[in-house]
Subunit: 149 residues, 2 copies
């Protein structure tokens, strides 16, 4: 196997670090334009697609549930999110995006031009190659669907 510190690998890692930095930058910036923090935007995006119990939000954010309480509190104070009882389990509170919340989330997603700009320079064929390489890198091998978790 190729040594793990060869120049090519280091270069790719460096590039990925740059992608990560730029992606984050753009995301925070886009969120700020809607008076949201990054964390608030992420939670709102989660809830815009589907109402979820607090616990599950914490799992997806990889943080403690007590942290989610505060984030949802702030979103709720702005009527972007609401807490509903779970009819199946009275311990659970389902956080759901309100109509206003979905609207903001939609506009935010649309304003995220990371999707467009950096990929615009790549042909459809190149994007396909990139997609497959990223999938392989992430362990979702398109030729071996049993590889992924």
């Amino acid at each position: 196997m190729v040594p793990r510190t060869d120049a090519l690998t280091l270069e790719v890692v460096e590039l990925i670090a740059t992608v990560v930095a730029r992606y984050h930058e753009e995301y925070e910036e886009a969120a700020a334009k809607h008076s949201l923090t990054g964390a608030q935007a992420r939670v709102l995006a989660l809830l815009a697609s589907e109402p979820q119990p607090m616990r599950r939000i914490a799992q997806q954010l990889k943080c403690e549930p007590s942290n989610v309480t505060g984030i949802v509190d702030r979103l709720e104070a702005r009527d972007l999110v609401e807490r509903r009882p779970d009819p199946a389990d009275r311990r659970v509170k389902l956080a759901a995006a309100t109509e206003a919340g979905r609207e903001v989330s939609g506009r935010l997603r649309a304003s995220l031009n990371f999707a467009r700009e950096p990929l615009a320079g790549l042909s459809a064929q190149e994007r396909t190659v990139l997609r497959d390489l990223l999938k392989r890198m992430l362990g979702e091998d398109p030729d071996d669907p049993y590889t992924h978790l």
Copy 2:
């Protein structure tokens, strides 16, 4: 040009988001193993390669200089970083990694296995293709070296 919301582009963006999330996760985790926060690890890495004025650290972190004060304070309290006067301008304080700081930074870098694991499954040729696509995506066209900043 291809519409900016076609399925392929969205899929690639989704994959990039996953890469970003996983990279961050691993970075924080690796930093925590050395009792550092993500921000501290980033600053330490910056200073390990070269001493810098506070102002410049803030620019690279894209935050206010007043924020850097606290981060460097905490690193300095652990003798990983020291503040030196700038002989050319007495307003400036140069933050520099100590020997211990460089040592920790080096071990942290080595423990970042994001470099290895995800890329291990790709052949050298595939990594070359990935490198070039990422470069193109980031505006550093390998065929046109004058494009990059």
